[in-house]
Amino acid sequence: MSNITMRELKEDIRTGLKTKELVLSMGPQHPSTHGVLRLVLELDGETVVKCTPYVGYLHRGTEKLCEHRTYLNALPLSDRLDYIVSMANNVGYVLAVERLFGIEAPPRAKYIRTIVSEMARLSGHLLWIATHALDIGAMTVFLYSFREREWLLDLFEHLCGARLTTSYPRIGGVRNDVTEEFLDSLYEFTEEFPRRIEEYETLIDQNRIWLQRTKGIGVISAEEAINWGLTGPVLRGSGVPYDVRKFAPYDAYPWVDFEVPVGKNGDVYDRYKVRMQEMRQSNRIIKQCIERMPKGPVMAPDAPKFTLPPKEKVMSEMESLIHQFVLITKGPIAAPEGEIYSAIEAPKGELGFYIVSDGTGRPYRLRLRSPSFVHASVLPRLCEGHLVADVIANIGTIDIVLGECDR
């Protein structure tokens, strides 16, 4: 201020005030960027003129690490991609490796995997609605949805001993069978959960502030969304019924009955609606899986070549001890030479694994197609020309996790 003389100030007032664009660096430690995303916003008043995202603060070189590990050892790395729904990533990874080796999990394992990946979807969507509503200004939803998320995480702990970094599915099946108590308490959850979803909806669905902050914001048309490569609820919010569970069914999805909810306008509100409906469908899938769960083994018969045997068998059986020894020292048997692209419907969108094998026990190249990376790239398209406040709503609606985006 001191540089401006009184005369200049008078001059300014007479000729009209001079304006210039303001550059605002948002993040990487901003609470509503859901991790370490940095946006550089060029503002004209409150309108965003240009938005440049910067990612990579959480880059750990997962793809390079996978090249130096055996197929067995690379599984825990997939936990650290989308760390709030690690179960779904595990399922995606083991499915890709199974397709490469040409083995198939037994039906019971398939049902269990479907249950856990739908539980992961629920916990991911619960975290999303919590943080999204918190960003927009509805704090109460956060408290309610974390109550149910805790319930799910406790069930995960019951199942495999870990709440977040689960590493539960194995190549050729799952690590251990589910107990009756687990199924009972999960069934209790599915009975109760639809009422809880209604509770969240009463909090925000008719809320005038919520509607004003979400309706007509971040609109993207169906054609444009496909061209940008968007997947998951973000694409379905624009009215495209693309869902990997229906288009290329895996695990137990062909045997259960569910619908794919789609939106119409492709704005923040429609994507919110799609995710809320998806939670109901996930609940339905879990319920059906529990009811139809067949008896039988949870590991494929040829699985010992790929996966460590259970500890009690190692201690009591010679054959298992040999398998364990060979797997630890030499790694799993060599994969057939070839390449495979396998995708699952992760809570955020399509999570793809492209594995190139050169006929050894390690992947020659493992590429992760993460939905968050693609969704983060669409942010400038959604934000430019809108208000700063809508940037927050847009970050929330594309539902990114930076662990998966930066890999």
């Binding site: 793809e63 692209y341 399509e350 590429r367 197609r369």
Partner: protein, 183 residues
């Protein structure tokens, strides 16, 4: 349409460019030359009974010492209407790692191409904003190339930002905490 049929159609239309068709576990990959990649992709996108409107993924593979054109840029194309998947692999030699950007056809290729440049050093001709994306701008080398060591370059060739942190740590170690308190 079956993916193999699409590959044959592509070979009929562009006999010069398609080099090889491979099938593994019901997935078809077509190895093509890099020169007319834009024409190939727009043919696959525009043809009414193929309509590959969705670019699932774009990445590269380094075949150091295994194949002669060292790099392959891999496109995974999908049709949401007809539900078929095709993999296109364009060969890119080591001495001139340049290929046309496919952003005019699939705008979503933007960040994938930037990542490809970041990790493999492949230049995409016509890309509006080809910068490093996951790594810092002053990073040296391309980490996903096979001749890049797993733990990175050590010592003087390490990233300048990391060396700075190490120097600060060293300086702070020497700092006389007890003396400072007395003062």
């Amino acid at each position: 349409m079956e993916p193999l049929q699409i590959a044959e159609r592509l070979r009929e239309r562009f006999p010069e460019d398609v080099r090889e068709i491979k099938e593994f576990r019901d997935q078809v990959s077509v190895i093509v030359k890099r020169d007319h990649i834009l024409d190939l992709l727009s043919f696959l996108k525009e043809e009414p009974d193929i309509q590959m409107d969705f670019l699932k993924d774009l990445t590269a593979v380094d075949w150091l010492g295994k194949k002669v054109p060292r790099f392959e840029v891999v496109y995974h194309l999908y049709s949401i209407k007809f539900r078929h998947l095709l993999r296109l692999k364009a060969e890119v030699p080591e001495e001139d790692p340049v290929i046309d950007s496919v952003m005019p056809i699939y705008i979503g290729a933007n960040w994938h191409e930037r990542e490809c440049f970041d990790m493999f050093g492949i230049q995409f001709r016509g890309h509006p904003d080809l910068r490093r994306i996951l790594l810092p701008e002053d990073w040296e080398g391309y980490p996903l190339r096979k001749d890049y060591p797993l733990e990175g370059y050590k010592g003087e060739k390490d990233w300048s930002g990391f060396r700075e942190v190490l120097q600060i740590a060293k300086r702070n170690k020497k700092f006389d905490w007890y003396g400072a308190q007395e003062r």
